[in-house]
């Protein structure tokens, strides 16, 4: 990976983080660039994409992350990477044409001290990245499901919320999906077999028939995957969601778009 190709702030952060991590873990980012972005050059964020991340993961299982786009029309795909996680690629959002998505907020698991990268692919095919260093949570906080029985009992339930958007030209909404989104990397203490992973791998959100975004993700997303975002309304009457999990589960929801915002 080419350090010079990254934003000054991001690079500085990464260097500091690398220094802090040097004794415990090597910086996985160069390999992640190969695996996730096929070694393509990644330029400085330059305001095209910005990542809001907390300095410390308060609860390792629920760490809010927001990717902001100055000019949504330039963004094709925005990818969130938790460098030190077992499955670093948390989510890749392909934005719908003219969707006008100003930001996407979601929640992720952060296993240990880690850089988090937000990488934008712009219409010209170039990649730009912003990065933040997140300190691991302390105490007995684990990136695990809180209540596995309840997670399974409520599997696939959805909730839709609307908010007053700060930008009058946009609407702001939130999609929530009940799902354990479990890693499966744990051993069943009775059978001694490794439990299979069970996680949401895609979520498509539409206004009417026009896609707002399609998310492809994995086990780094928190349980009950949640997405809050703004979009440019196209006059459609409903928001529609279709989510899939890795076991073939399909979860659908549709809600009338309110007058509130």
């Amino acid at each position: 990976m080419n350090i010079a190709a990254r934003s000054a702030a991001g690079a500085l952060f990464a260097l500091l983080a690398s220094a802090a991590l040097a004794q415990t873990a090597p910086d996985p980012w160069p390999e992640l660039v190969v695996d996730i972005f096929h070694s393509r050059p990644i330029a400085a964020a330059d305001g095209v994409i910005a990542l809001d991340a907390p300095a410390r993961a308060e609860d390792a299982a629920i760490v809010p992350m927001t990717m902001r786009f100055a000019d949504p029309s330039r963004i094709k795909v925005a990818t969130l990477v938790i460098d030190q996680n077992p499955m670093p690629m948390a989510a890749a959002f392909t934005l719908g044409e003219k969707s006008g998505v100003g930001f996407i907020e979601t929640r992720v698991r952060v296993n240990s001290y880690s850089n988090v990268h937000a990488v934008a692919e712009t219409g010209d095919g170039k990649l730009r990245a912003d990065a933040k260093f997140v300190k691991a949570s302390g105490g007995c906080s684990a990136p695990a499901v809180k209540d596995e029985d309840e997670a399974v009992a409520n599997l696939g339930k959805m909730k839709y919320r609307e908010f007053k958007s700060a930008d009058p030209a946009k609407r702001e909404a939130q999609i929530m999906i009940r799902h354990p989104n479990s890693s499966g990397m744990q051993m069943d203490p009775v059978s001694r077999a490794y439990l299979p992973a069970h996680f949401i791998d895609s979520v498509e959100v539409f206004q009417g028939d026009a896609p707002i975004f399609k998310m492809e993700g994995g086990i780094s997303l928190s349980e009950d995957p949640t997405f809050r975002f703004t979009y440019a309304p196209n006059g459609a009457k409903t928001i529609r969601v279709e989510a899939h999990d890795n076991k073939g589960g399909v979860y659908k929801g549709e809600w009338p778009i309110g007058e509130a915002s």
Partner: protein, 307 residues
């Protein structure tokens, strides 16, 4: 420092067989009921993970141990201190839940031949979290973590279970997800002492690692238990029952009310985590270590309320 001495004595214990663990305080809070108060702190190398309260109940024939501490060092010190009090066989080691400050000392008790007992969800919780705990705590505990193993229970409790220690029957009760998804309480009717595990925090800010609403609900139902005093998971012991529940209930209710208000206003989780519960700050120790975490998890839970 008492804790340093404790760690030292415990560390030497295997070398000097029979070393009395004088530094490890284990008080008889009622005839045949013992408790150890941990330090109100995070787990560190210096305190060898000794931050949780531990207990033991001695019947005519045998002993039940309640939680084992936050390291093998502490578990060994506890065992040595207990052996000063009684030579009766330790038949049961009961874990009140999966957290490291309560289970990391389990390994010290394996050779006693005791049966390990826990909530029906404890094996699953230890499987899901144990490996993470072992790696995450290495950074803050260093070599005080050496030798720690994850020891799951072989006897599990679905609802309630009575264990007979010889003319002394103790009652174990499993609860719905509250502080965690595997909380278990132990009542010793003979002495009137309730060992609440982390379903009760005193002075140490409560930690929500299961369900905020579940915690409130279970804490209210705990109040009906016929006990006279309680050994909380953290904080001074023993404490009057059920009065000891009051401060925790006030905190959990404040946090719940603040989070509901933030959600109603349309605030995001990151913003809400900075402010919810803040009014309770001066009443608790370790508030800045846990409140934002409680608020974050509580927000994600309460967001599902309503239509």
């Amino acid at each position: 420092m008492l804790r340093r001495l404790l760690a030292l004595v415990a560390a030497l214990a295997p070398l000097v067989a029979g070393t009395p663990a004088r530094a490890f305080s284990l008080s008889e809070i009622a005839p045949g009921a013992y408790a150890h108060q941990g330090e109100t702190s995070l787990m560190t190398r210096e305190n060898a993970g000794d931050i949780a309260n531990l207990g033991a109940i001695v019947g005519d024939e045998s002993v039940a141990v309640i939680d084992t501490g936050g390291s093998l060092i502490e578990g060994r010190a506890f065992l040595a201190a207990l052996r000063e009090k009684t030579q009766k066989p330790i038949r049961y080691v009961i874990n009140t839940h999966a957290h490291p400050d309560h289970t990391f000392g389990n390994g010290a008790f394996v050779e006693t031949g005791a049966t390990f007992v826990g909530h029906k969800n404890l094996p699953r919780a230890l499987a899901a979290r144990g490996p993470h705990y072992l790696s995450a705590f290495r950074a803050q505990m260093g070599d005080a973590l050496d030798g720690v193993t994850i020891v799951p229970p072989t006897l599990t409790v679905d609802q309630t279970l009575t264990l007979d220690l010889g003319h002394r029957e103790i009652v174990l009760q499993a609860w719905r997800t509250a502080h965690s998804e595997c909380d278990l309480t132990i009542l010793d009717p003979k002495s009137g002492v309730l060992f609440s595990g982390d379903l009760l925090f005193l002075q140490h800010v409560p930690v929500v690692d299961g369900s905020l609403l579940g915690f409130l609900d279970v804490a209210d139902r705990l109040a009906a238990i016929k006990a006279t005093q309680v050994v909380a998971g953290h904080g001074p012991l023993p404490a009057p029952w059920p009065k000891a529940l009051d401060d925790q209930r006030a905190y959990l209710m404040r946090l719940t009310a603040d989070l509901r208000a933030a959600i109603k206003k349309g605030e995001g989780v990151a913003a809400a985590a900075k402010t919810a519960g803040a009014e309770e700050r001066e009443k608790w120790r370790l508030f800045d270590d846990y409140n934002a975490r409680n608020a974050t998890a509580g927000f994600a839970e309460l967001e599902w309320e309503g239509p």
